[in-house]
Amino acid sequence: MAKLHVSTTINGEPQEFLCDADQSMLDVLRGPLGLTGSKEGCGSGDCGACSITLDGRLVCSCLMLAAEAEGRQIATIEGMAGEELHPLQTKFLEMAALQCGICTPGVLMAAKSLLERNPDPTEHEVRFWLAGNLCRCTGYDKIVRAVMETAADMRGGAR
């Protein structure tokens, strides 16, 4: 069977690729597109390391077919920093909210998506929003604190 031709937008740039009908978005990102920031932890929707946004909505790219990207807007971790790092990225570095870093791209994508919807989340809300992002290293506490502090900074409030 011939490959499917897909036209999409990734991190604001038009992008075309060929894929198999059963290929996941994650496979295409990491393979032909060379966007290896999204990680594969499980391939079954459990770990969140592959988190991207599809038309602004947080999804697991391992549970999305690449063919579904046709005509849609995709954002990956590679698009998170502009000229400068995103405040979440800076805060994660400052507060050492990562160790091995495998979960970090997914956590950052998820946290950014939370703060876009809810600039003033409670700790409870942060923990529930990030429940689909597994981290085997940090014990989560530093991640949660870094997200809370970034939110406070971005609101312009004091710590």
Partner: protein
Amino acid sequence: MTDIQYLAPRTLDEAVQAFAASSGKGRILAGGTDLLVQMRAGTVTPHTIIDIKKIGEMTAIEETAGGGFRVGAGVSGAILREHPKLKKVWPGVVEAANLIGSTQIQGRATAGGNLCNGSPAGDSVPAMVAAGAIVTIQGPKGRRELPVEAVPKGPGRLNLEPGEIVVSFTLPARPKGSSDAYLRMIPRTEMDIAVVGCGVSLTLEKGVCTAARVGLGAVAPTVLLVEGAAKALIGSKLDEAALDKAANACRAACRPIDDKRGTIAYRTQIAGVLLKRTAAIAAERAGRN
């Protein structure tokens, strides 16, 4: 090597045609949170994947003329939660759908997929059963309707004919003093499969329960409508005796399995406990409506 075909039809007719033409080797793709996992595990090997998310009727939430709602089978949990009115009228249905998986899973998972995957532990199903949702189905022979509890046949099996697609769920209008709730028991606080799930929908008039429906999940091969429990609640003031009776009716309806998540005895016991807690939440909400 792959000879799989991916189709994303824009109309239901095209989808039904393609699904029927795939002669059993086609699969509907909604959110893909079950299907893609199964394909990857090799337990499902479709030749044709029919993505229904470009079909307007299947991705819309509409208010019906009488004040109910028609929820497309392809609407994700995240979209359900963001609908301003639906969660006020059917909070239990929305909270049940929102228990499915993580934020990421919510962005994709649909109530249609939850029902059609056929798991007895699907979280949105007992809430839909309690709500009295009517499922609209379209297939090669046209359209028909079924009460949601009549759709599952057994684990992974449905009372659907070849080529039939679940189009939408119709939730009825609510009389004053009505509400619903859904609770599940899981060993952790997030990201797990229900040991028991319980949906209760009820109507109160001057403190007396005048209508009730109870749906129970994960305690039998299919999600159950527990009419005995509803009967025990109707006509009562939801006093302790009525709640005990309803809880016992739930326990009597259980035909659960023993597994690592819960023993038969535990699941049966919890079914009654959840009935009481869920009914209390539904009643408290109904009192405010």
